[in-house]
Amino acid sequence: MADLHFLANPARFRRFSQRVVPSLSGATALMLAVGLYLALLQSPPDYQQGDTVRIMFVHVPSAWLAMAGYALLAGLGASLLIWRHPLAALMARAAAPVGAGFCAVCLLTGSLWGRPMWGAYWVWDARLTSMLLLFFLYLGHIALSRAYDEPERGDRAAAILALIGVINLPIIKFSVDWWNTLHQPASVVRLGGPSIHPSILVPLLWMAVTLFLLFVLLVLLRTDTEIDRRRLENAEQQA
């Protein structure tokens, strides 16, 4: 925790991000190039799904990051409400659209995969519905944080929403178990540990790490922008 408090100062965060961003962007680009080679060329097509299995290399990490992103929003919300860290609010502002973007990518790739595999772009499966709800929670967070004339008020309202929304996450998650009578539970994409062959698992994990780095990079860059924007707004008010 001490390290996170260290970064709570916007100026210190600025120095940290400026040191990290160049190497992080290089690493992300390199990882992405290798990951695309692994996912698109090197890994074999699935014996049942054929080449559509490659959609999973983007789909599954996006789903993980969408959920991790909301957990991050809740953590930042708690940090804003408890310690009043000004940076937490700015980072939440920066992270919410990124998380929503990964959530949208997850939903879109999932429906593109579903068309050839399930025969439908969309089914009202518990897993799909819960992801859609997560997307709506993101939209609510984004809209609420920008709905006030004083940005600080929007930040704190959105922080409370994120903390309540995160209570809803496990409810949404467990609805998979309660709700599986309607649709095929076996076809829900999931990692069964060793049930996935290493030739598929390795590119998947590689892409997961890559997209995680991309997520961190985007959040750092956007947080920098938010710091600038907030400074500009404050300067305009004082002028």
């Binding site: 609420l144 309540i164 949404i172």
Partner: protein
């Protein structure tokens, strides 16, 4: 506790003096529900099949419709500032406001739903179940809606924003409320759905008053 009762009584008295506000919400519920048979067609077995979902969705919208004024009037005339200064927990005040909202919307909705259910051709045991699920489920809607109302207090376009915030959070209640009625109608396990519905209400009761109070505090700053 006397403060709690006084606040509930005050809100009920305010509603009593302007009963039109509640009547509009109930009228919306009836009109919205009757649109479905007109839009979908009057086949009896289709209507009976969708009745629980339609009535639950309409009740959810009706409950939301009446929420945007829940704290706004108190915010504008300064009552909220007095509640913030009052030497008793704001959480109780939030709970009292939601409680009063439930008495004037959730309760009449639960009483009205079986009447509309008859028009959808539901059997009497299913009508009873419908009323029971609404009775247990609508407090959750009032509490979550109260939170959305407190969060959007003073925001631009608060009405649409309130719906965007509250609806996703109300989905579990909707699923298990309509699901319980459906389960009874199709011979499934009514008790399990109903228990989850009640559990959701208890979770909302245990968590939302604190969140509402936090939202009201920062609205008053």
């Amino acid at each position: 506790m006397s403060g709690f009762a006084a606040l509930v009584a005050r809100d009920l008295r305010l509603v009593w003096r302007r009963p039109g506000d509640v009547a509009v919400v109930l009228a919306f519920f009836v009109v919205a529900t009757t649109l479905f048979p007109l839009g979908i067609g009057p086949e009896a077995n289709v209507l009976a099949r969708i009745a629980a979902g339609v009535l639950w969705c309409a009740a959810l919208f009706a409950a939301l419709l009446s929420l945007d004024r829940l704290f706004a009037a108190d915010f504008e005339d300064g009552t909220l500032d007095l509640l913030l200064l009052a030497p008793w927990p704001l959480e109780l005040a939030a709970l009292a406001k939601c409680c009063a909202h439930w008495i004037v919307t959730g309760l009449p909705l639960a009483a009205l739903a079986p009447l509309l259910g008859v028009a959808f051709g539901l059997e009497s045991s299913v009508l009873l179940a419908l009323s029971a699920t609404l009775l247990v489920g609508t407090p959750t809607l009032s509490l979550i809606g109260g939170l959305a109302a407190a969060l959007t207090l003073g925001a631009r376009k608060s009405g649409a924003l309130l719906a965007l915030l509250a609806l996703p959070l109300c989905v579990p209640t909707l699923i298990f409320g309509a699901g319980a009625v459906e389960a009874l109608a199709s011979g499934g396990d009514f008790g399990a759905h109903f228990a989850v519905l009640a559990a959701l209400a208890l979770v909302a009761l245990a968590t939302t008053p604190w969140a509402i109070a936090a939202a009201l505090r920062q609205a008053g700053e």
